[in-house]
Amino acid sequence: MDTLSGEARLVERAKAQDEAAFEQIMNLYADRLYSYILRMVGNATDAEDLVQETFLRAYQGLPNFDGRASLGTWLYRIATNLCIDHQRRRARRVPTVSYSGQEDEDGEPAEWDFPDHQTPNPLQAVLNRELEAVVEDAIGKLSPKLRTVLLLYDVEELSYEEIARVLHIPIGTVKSRLNHARAQIQKAVAAYLEDAPAAVQARFAK
């Protein structure tokens, strides 16, 4: 509760053109947004560009931002929209590689795909087969609709309501997409655990 009002005060100061307050907002959200965008678009160059753009839009949109609304939700929405636009622009220039098949879980044609998706550490996944690497890899293979929801819920730790507001979808859809996403990751993890030596398996039991 305290953090929330602290953030609201920051927003108020930033809206009053207090540069230090805006810098603080950047500090608070830089890593979170960068991480999220990086896992969405799959490569560092684009992620860098997009996270800068996110903060630029936030700066420009501040005058119109209702200080009582959630700053985080708003920032993630900007970031998500930028990722969508980014992909649409790239899709026109680069032949897309569909990772999830022709239709997504809603039965609609797979809407947005991110070509050139490199998992943050592909080498590690192949050589070390650490579980995190397997999970990152599996996230990268999710269809973008599922990927967004999973990242926002399980990695960025937004609530169902917040995710619904970020993506402009009903909460029911958030939950069902989350289940689908988790199921797919779970499948990859289960497969990994099957092949892993007993010691690793033991590590993950109970």
Binding site: S35, E48, V51, L56, V155, Q186, V189, L193
Partner: protein, 151 residues
């Protein structure tokens, strides 16, 4: 309790959302396949929560500031105010001024919008836009151009 039902409840159980977990836990003991499913889900959940936060690039704040300065920001009071401070107080300390000039120095390699054409075009276009804005029945174009917004 059957396997299908169990599967549907796994995540609720992991998140402590299952009101009565007895039937669920009983099934775990009885069904090795479902036990493996639970382990996989647990591992997934742990891994997801443990995914590292990738640190944003160090120069992010500086880059954002550059973009803000490049884009016609309205109102420009915030950043313009700092410039005024620099102009009026040269004795403010080398550090402050150096910091701002240092920020400016990064701009020498800033890309020009249309690399192929004469860079002075942007200033010529600014003048022409001002001239043309005069003949618009609305003050908006003139206002935008005068305050640096040319998009």
């Amino acid at each position: 309790m059957n396997c299908k039902r169990f599967e549907r409840q796994i995540w609720a159980y992991l998140e402590g959302q299952l009101p009565d977990a007895r039937a669920f836990e009983a099934h775990v003991g009885a069904c090795p396949r479902c036990q493996r499913q639970l382990e996989a889900a647990r591992a997934t959940s742990r891994a997801l929560r443990a995914l590292p936060r990738h640190p944003a690039p160090e120069n992010l704040a500086a880059q954002v500031r550059r973009r803000i300065a490049e884009s016609p920001a309205y109102p420009r009071l915030g950043w313009a105010r700092v410039w005024r401070r620099v102009a009026l107080a040269p004795a403010l300390g080398l550090l402050t001024i150096a910091a701002w000039w240092g920020w400016q120095a990064q701009q020498t390699n800033a890309p020009v919008n249309t690399a192929a054409e004469d860079p002075t075009e942007s200033l010529v276009a600014l003048h022409e836009q001002l001239e043309a804005a005069d003949w618009a029945p609305s003050p908006t174009p003139s206002y935008f151009i005068s305050t640096g917004y040319t998009r």
